[in-house]
Symmetry: C2
Subunit: 325 residues, 2 copies
């Protein structure tokens, strides 16, 4: 058996190993933003977990402990938003060096508690141990009414493709963070978005409740990496119009376009809406811009259309831990 | 603020940071084997997670991948057993080096799947990433009827203290593993217990269902470390009779006693029973020996009584990641 080269291969290998032993109560498990566990007739439980590792996902010398605490929870909660669910509680697996169990830990917990309150997601438990590098894994449980969860697999040819907010700003914020010697008290929008991403919970719930989105996921690894995942789950393709992408205005257009296509960590929602329902979609939802960025196609290719109308294949350029080598 | 020195301090620090923001639906959270989440009137959900880290909890050069897969799930499921619950599903957070994504991963998944089937705990989802060392965090969800979960906090002075199985064998198995060049096809009981611990699910559920145990926890870090945790949660003390401990017969008595008191990784159940109910307890439950090892006392000390009747304070000598320095 060959070695899997990218994260998606690894997930498929795990999925195959367990395929025959799955429980019927798990209506959806591997391969979406989160798993769905049918517990009662009134509610489905949404389950998700996310690694947040020093050196891989954050830099101890650069990222304030407060931001590490916020972000380790916010990015897992974003998977609940991407299903249209409501967070309920989380478990924290934390490993850290002894020298960080004082002031650093207090800062980390302050950020974590702020994220916990902002997303109404209570700490339920966890496990702690010692390690020379900081390791975090956050498991979040959420709830959604049965049948309302928005999966990655529901997109149909002809559906319109939307993104919330601005794309590429978090990656711009990371570049800024690497340059800075000290973090300003009031970081600009890009740096703020990188350090303290806001999971789009209200938007996700609204889209799910009103059955507006046919498919949805959150953008964590960059549009060019995440969109193929949504398309693969739905067995469709997509064409993106480069001129329509909601770019950052904080850099030149060429770089902004590159960041919007390949930059990670935005935690915006990517979703599809059938033409029949598209008119119900406002231009903004509670201050967050909603932009039509393309369409879903029958042909299973991801194409980028430039302003002249000519198209090129969009290759995944986002972040993949197993491609980064 | 001083730095916490042991794991318990760290847990208390986290608990304090979150105390005011807890949800009323979380009937019990930090400080027990697992958290309880009241989802409906019919069932409570039990939540627990456990680190399993290369170098800390296992050695890549010594532990077969199959045993690592088995044990990372079995030890988390043991926390469900310790509440008297039934496992439902789990999430796997896995980080590993690229060179282990072939044969090693197949072996790991084989052991994990066996544990998943043996405990009726289905894989629900997870997260994978790359790391130079193998990191595993397993989150297990279980179920228990409301009011039936057996907590650490229910022990009362006069209650009798019991342990399942034999104590100290897993630590003996670890010593053997360190000596061996190759793992035998049919490991002896001690090595087998270290590599493939069996969570005491049926016993835990039976004790909970029949309301026999007033308090319960699983022995993961050694009796001398875990018993004080049960006693602290119950605000009681305990006296253990050294002559009554279910020792391993695979080594001399002095070493066997030391291992029974301080050896970790047994995943046996430690539980208390009121004198009124003690006669209902069999000597064996489905082949697993149940041994009365002492009693719960009002005086909040942990004492060890020798065969002459004289007592000494029992100091924690088990495994604590923050004490190991």
């Amino acid at each position: 058996m060959g070695k899997p080269r990218i994260e998606q291969d690894l997930i498929q290998l795990i999925e195959r190993a367990f395929r025959s032993s799955q429980s019927p109560a798990l209506t959806l498990s591997l391969g979406d933003d989160a798993a769905l566990w049918r517990r009662s007739r009134n509610k489905d439980t949404i389950l998700t977990c996310d690694w947040f590792l020093e050196g891989t996902h954050f830099l101890r010398q650069k990222h304030p402990p407060d931001a590490i605490g916020w972000k380790c929870l916010a990015r897992a909660v974003s998977d609940i938003a991407a299903m249209g669910g409501k967070p309920a509680c989380f478990l924290l697996s934390l490993a850290l060096p002894e020298e960080l169990t004082g002031k650093w830990l207090v800062g980390f917990l302050r950020g974590l508690r702020r994220a916990s309150r902002a997303t109404a997601c209570a700490l339920a438990g966890g496990d702690t141990t010692r390690n020379e590098r900081v390791l975090v894994s956050a498991t979040v449980l959420g709830e959604v009414s049965p049948g309302q969860a928005v999966l990655r697999s529901g997109a149909r040819p002809g559906d319109r493709l939307y993104a919330s907010g601005t794309l590429g700003e978090a990656e711009l914020g990371l570049a800024e963070l690497r340059r800075l010697q000290t973090i300003p008290r009031a970081p600009n929008a890009a740096l703020g978005k990188h350090l303290y991403p806001q999971p789009r919970l209200a938007l996700g719930q609204w889209l799910a409740h009103n059955r507006l989105a046919s498919a949805m996921m959150d953008l964590s690894d960059g549009l060019s990496t995440d969109l193929p995942r949504l398309c693969a789950a739905s067995r469709v393709g997509a064409t993106i119009a480069s001129s329509s992408l909601p770019l950052s205005s904080r850099t030149d257009r060429t770089r902004a376009l590159d960041l919007a296509l390949h930059g990670g960590d935005d935690y915006e929602l990517l979703f599809t809406v059938s033409p029949r329902k598209a008119s119900l979609l406002p231009s903004h939802f509670r201050g967050v811009k909603l932009t039509r960025i393309g369409k879903i196609t029958r042909q299973q290719k991801i194409l980028l259309e430039d302003s002249t109308g000519s198209t090129t294949l969009l290759r995944p350029g986002g972040w993949d831990p197993f491609r980064a080598s």
